[in-house]
């Protein structure tokens, strides 16, 4: 159920200088960011936290929300220090209120 959807690496490639991840915003975070998704270019080895730091630039209220946000990479919840890979889908998940 929680397998990550990273592309298969047939041969060990040289670490790319940059990776691109797709960030998803929902509910109050979509309102705050003014959009539902954004493509983010990061340096190789960047973590979820690094992505958050990038996102906070130009969005003054974003940083204060981060302590209340959970993170999912490719639909599995992850911790903030999780490294990202090229092509990952990073979802920022405000406190859920389904049901």
């Amino acid at each position: 159920m929680r397998e990550t959807k990273r592309p298969p690496t047939a041969e060990p490639p040289a670490a790319p200088a940059a990776i691109s991840v797709r960030v998803l915003f929902f509910a109050s975070l979509a309102d705050l960011m003014g959009d539902r998704h954004r493509n983010l270019d990061l340096t190789a080895g960047a973590t979820v936290s690094d992505a958050l730091r990038d996102l906070a630039q130009g969005a003054p209220d974003f940083a204060s929300r981060v302590p209340h946000v959970s993170f999912a990479v490719n639909e599995a919840f992850v911790a903030a220090d999780t490294p990202l890979a090229d092509g990952d889908e990073l979802a920022l998940i405000p406190p859920v209120s389904g049901g």
């Binding site: 509910a27 109050s28 209340h68 979802a91 405000p94 406190p95 859920v96 209120s97």
Partner: protein
């Protein structure tokens, strides 16, 4: 197993029929319905937004966990998205089991767990505005 997100009204009899297997003697159903107030403040309508693919995957994982834990052969779980009026069901769960204790316990487990880690968000519309509901206690974490 039925696990679904739907923008149409939930067909509760269909969910009950799905779990009404000949070996089951008890069916417990829970419906979350849109209340006319939020802690006393009049609510006009609700909106539900989901991270759809992940929400369905999480719902399926919760149902599978319940089926394994209580030895069940039939569970149905449906959650609405979009705009809902007062009295409409936002979520419906039906659990069939040979005996009632398992049906009640599994049904309660599914709704309680859904509320903590399925990426769905509720927006409450009041007469003078709307807010996303963000319970302080329900922050999913890596597992």
């Amino acid at each position: 197993m039925i696990v679904e997100l739907t923008s149409e009204p939930i067909d509760v009899p269909r969910l009950i029929a799905h779990v009404n297997k000949p070996s089951n003697g008890g069916i417990c159903t829970f419906l979350g319905v849109v209340r006319d107030n939020a802690e006393g403040r009049p609510v006009v309508k609700l909106g539900y937004e989901a991270y759809e693919s992940m929400a369905v995957a999480q719902m399926r994982a919760i149902v599978q966990e319940a089926m394994q834990r209580w030895g069940l052969d039939a569970v149905a779980l449906s959650h609405r998205t979009g705009e809902l009026q007062i009295g409409e069901a936002s979520v419906a769960i039906a659990v069939g089991a040979p005996h009632r204790a398992e049906a009640f316990e599994a049904c309660r487990f599914i709704i309680d767990t859904l509320k903590t880690r399925v990426p769905i968000w509720k927006k409450e519309f009041f007469q003078d505005g709307a807010v996303w509901v963000e319970p302080v206690s329900s922050q999913p974490s890596p597992q």
